[in-house]
């Protein structure tokens, strides 16, 4: 059972090929990574210690992949508030080093209205250099709008 699932698509239900917009996040300086490490519990020294990063073959500590993946939810929900994100997945392709920021964006890859309104979104996160950091996908459903939000 998917919570608050709606059976009929609204008139403005997106079509394949629609862009969902782009949004910048960061930059993520070492202090931001330290704060994320505390709240997420991911204190892997790779993200916090330049020596550990170098020992792993990186030029510097990389931004936590989960921190970057987390940026897709606000991107999607700013695009449309009437969605339930049923699935989100991402592959971390290239590290984004501390101090850099990312631009996340997405596009509708597949759209259907029955048996339930559903979209498959292709998501990408790029470093400022335009290097591809994450390729992701989300499956979103139309949900009955909450009158309180």
């Amino acid at each position: 059972m998917i919570e608050a699932e709606a059976k009929l698509a609204p008139a403005d239900w997106p079509k394949a090929g629609d862009e969902i917009g782009a949004r910048n996040f960061g930059p993520f300086p070492p202090e931001a990574l330290a704060r994320y490490a505390v709240i997420s519990g991911d204190d892997n020294p790779l993200h916090l210690d330049p020596n550990a990063a170098r020992a792993a073959g990186l030029a510097g500590p990389p931004v936590h992949g989960m921190l970057m993946l987390s940026c897709f939810e606000p991107l999607i929900m700013r695009w449309r508030r009437d969605l339930f994100i049923a699935q989100l997945s991402g592959k971390f392709l290239r590290p984004v080093l501390a101090g850099d920021g990312i631009c996340v964006s997405g596009r509708v890859m597949r759209s259907r209205e029955s048996p339930r309104p559903e979209l498959v979104l292709r998501l990408v996160a790029r470093a400022r250099s335009n290097d591809l950091a994450i390729v992701g996908e989300a499956v979103v459903l139309y949900k009955i709008p909450d009158p309180l939000n």
Partner: protein
Amino acid sequence: MITEQESRAAALTPEPSEDAFIRLPPIRVRTEANEVARFLRETGDSPTAGFVPLTYPARWLALPAVRGAILQSIGGSGFLPVHEAQSFSYERILRIETDYVLAVEACRTATPPRVILKMAVSTGEGAICARAETVLRIVPLNLEPAS
């Protein structure tokens, strides 16, 4: 294609065995409002958004029991887990100030050297809310001093 680092990790980590699969006893967790707000603040959303972000369960990977399973699966010092892929699948949103039960399994593969964690989040009544899969690549550290 297997990278040089992956080949080294495969050569240095223990051979897979019956012990390569770990299933933890159920773990009780809670979505504390202040922790959700701090998480939202650090991940680009308003701390007063009033919902549990969908990547929030990843922080439960840091629970001592789960962390222990990860370290046990990695199989020794001199290695670091590098997050390679992550997925979440939701049936119900998680609510703030609510108790949940985690079921966690860890599986280590030798070729390529990875730890795969599967987590299920359910209500106290047993209704599944979310599932997550975490793929960690095991990277050997080059501890030799730089020349």
